[in-house]
């Protein structure tokens, strides 16, 4: 009985999410709200994938956007070059290219730890940025790739804003379910062990380098999927999607929401995008607010919003 309530609630929330455009159509700013929510879900996917590294495995990556943008470019370019807008082709290309990038970078990056890992991921991501910037023929360089087609699947067309929203929402829910499964699995526990005491893990017989690399690749692939969705949403992929700013944005989202929790990255993504996109219409210094909020969280609420909520809940229970 105890499990039915949370599962039921989750299902209801999921259904509400996917049908959002429908039941919000009466709102004055319905179109705008759908767009913002869609972009929040895309950032949430990126943040969720990043937390697999930061939260679960304890690897602070500041270059995760390389895989997000890489996936976005891959999906758009594959569709263009092969003249095929199939959804599965696009997602597949995104995940594969992102995973491959993550593998190449990861092989080097996982040899470092802590601050050096952070700097290495930053450096490699900048390399990807530089390559995307220079390879104007393929990526459009600083102008980016515009005119990205939205995908189709078995006759279904995701061009309409509402249809695209539902696609994004569906993928988002799948990613959440995936993360939930991973976190409670043997693999997820092993990643936590890795984060808590790598030395001990090695002494127990775990090949920690391989474990770290697998997490890096998995996280990269999921980020790539997010990048594909971003490209389809904006009909545009650019070096902004692989840049430092995007990586930092994802990191900020993860921290504010709460690392190593299932919903933390999602909450964080919502907060970040609210501050970046909704608030600026009211006040001009929204980025500053975001920076200040981030600083406050690092100083006083390192466990993030979800972490705080959890602590509060525990306290109320006892």
């Amino acid at each position: 009985m105890r499990r039915i309530v949370p599962i039921g609630a989750a299902l209801i929330a999921a259904a509400a999410l996917v049908t959002f455009p429908t039941w919000s159509s009466g709102w004055e700013s319905s179109r705008y709200a759908t767009t913002i929510l869609r972009d929040m879900l895309v950032l949430a996917i990126l943040a969720l994938s990043l937390d697999l590294l930061v939260g679960s495995a304890g690897l602070p990556s500041l270059g995760h956007a390389a895989f997000f943008g890489g996936g976005g470019y891959a999906a758009a370019i594959a569709a263009q070059r092969l003249a095929n807008d199939d959804l599965l082709l696009g997602l597949g290309a995104a995940a594969l290219v992102a995973a491959f990038l993550a593998l190449v970078i990861g092989v080097f990056a996982v040899r470092a730890a802590g601050i050096f890992f952070l700097m290495l991921t930053l450096a490699f991501a900048q390399m990807v940025f530089a390559l995307a910037f220079q390879a104007t023929d393929i990526t459009g360089g600083s102008n980016g790739l515009s005119g990205v087609h939205r995908p189709t699947l078995l006759g279904l067309d995701f061009n309409a804003p509402d249809a695209l929203f539902q696609l994004v929402a569906a993928v988002f829910l799948i990613v959440v379910a995936l993360m939930w499964r991973i976190r409670s699995s043997t693999y997820g526990r092993a990643l936590v062990g890795l984060r808590e005491n790598e030395r001990r893990m090695r002494a127990l017989g775990y090949d920690t380098t391989r474990l770290k690399l697998s997490a890096f690749v998995l996280a990269g692939a999921i980020a790539g999927v997010g990048g594909a969705l971003s490209g389809w949403s904006l009909r545009f992929v650019s070096t902004n999607d692989v840049g430092v700013a995007r990586s930092v944005e994802a990191f900020v989202a993860v921290l504010i929401g709460g690392t190593s929790t299932l919903l933390g990255p999602v909450v964080g993504a919502f907060v970040v995008l609210y501050l970046e996109r909704v608030l600026p219409s009211a006040i001009p210094f929204a980025e500053t607010v975001l920076g200040v909020v981030f600083i406050v969280f690092v100083l006083a609420a390192r466990q993030g919003i979800v972490g705080l909520a959890r602590t509060a809940y525990e306290r109320v229970r006892t």
Partner: protein, 290 residues
């Protein structure tokens, strides 16, 4: 490449390297003393440049900026260390994250105050001419940058080796907790070091302003370059910053001339390469921060 062009490019490379040294020295110093990678370093540089812009716009003079900008940025650093960083003493990764937040705030505030366009400051009078070098005309200002960088390096070396402050910094680079046990006021030392490092970044901003222009996003470029320099040359030491700047400056310059498509990626590849082989850099003596 003809010899004349090579020499001119070499001068460009050295000039860029001198600038990189001024920029990276502060970052290296802060890391060496406090084990913190100050990711707001680019923002400090940017602030120095924008302060220069303000001074030039208000007074029409460039030279006061050389004193005022580092002072302003240094004071900011002096405020940030005790108010923010000190609370996270011992939590190195969190300190690094904090500096990210600081950089976001500074970058946004600067953008709001000055707008998003590209600004420029003219070369200071007296240094705005060109001099004949090997048949070509070379900007005097760039030679000034080289001279300034060299002078600063010498000054820092003297402070580092022959004063008590320098001794403290050298010792701190070795073992901060030990210093504390010996009765040195660690709080004051850290605050001063951070302020000094920030001031150096601001100074770099002043020097660079007439050459590279002033625009939003310059903080990220500066941060990336200074990270590359200290990682390659050696995290934590001034000589490391010198070596790193000496390598990266010319490498970047020649790279952009010889293979422009890959120049950018090449620099990062060098950084990654060094990080892998010698995580502490060619000359560094860093401890692994957690």
């Amino acid at each position: 490449m003809s010899p004349e062009v090579a020499v001119l490019q070499a001068l460009n490379g050295i000039s860029f390297g001198a600038l990189l040294f001024i920029l990276a020295a502060g970052l290296s110093l802060i890391f060496g003393m406090m084990d913190v990678v100050n990711l707001a370093h680019g923002a400090f540089y940017m602030l120095g440049a924008y302060v220069t812009l303000t001074i030039v716009q208000r007074t029409g003079q460039f030279w006061p900026a050389l004193l005022v900008a580092p002072l302003v940025v240094g004071l900011l650093g002096l405020a940030i260390e005790p108010i923010l960083l000190r609370r996270l003493r011992g939590r190195h990764l969190d300190q690094v994250l904090l500096t990210i937040g600081v950089s976001l705030v500074i970058a946004d505030l600067v953008g709001l105050t000055f707008g998003r366009e590209i600004h420029s400051v003219p070369l200071p009078p007296g240094l705005d001419s060109s001099i004949a070098v090997l048949g070509g005309d070379y900007p005097v200002y760039r030679l000034f940058v080289i001279a300034f960088g060299a002078a600063l390096a010498a000054l820092l070396a003297v402070i580092h080796r022959r004063t008590q402050l320098g001794a403290l910094i050298r010792a701190g680079v070795g073992d901060a907790p030990m210093l504390s046990a010996l009765g040195v006021d660690i709080d004051r030392l850290f605050a001063t070091t951070f302020a000094f490092g920030a001031a150096l970044a601001g100074l770099a901003g002043v020097i660079a302003a007439p050459v590279f222009g002033i625009f939003p996003g310059m903080d990220v470029d500066a941060l990336i370059y200074s990270l590359i320099v200290v990682v390659v040359g050696g995290l934590g030491t001034l000589s490391g910053a010198l070596v790193g700047a000496g390598l990266v400056g010319p490498a970047d310059t020649f790279g952009k001339v010889l293979f422009p498509e890959f120049a950018l990626a090449l620099i990062f590849a060098i950084m990654a390469f060094v990080l892998l082989l010698r995580p502490t850099g060619l000359l560094g003596r860093a401890r692994i921060a957690r």
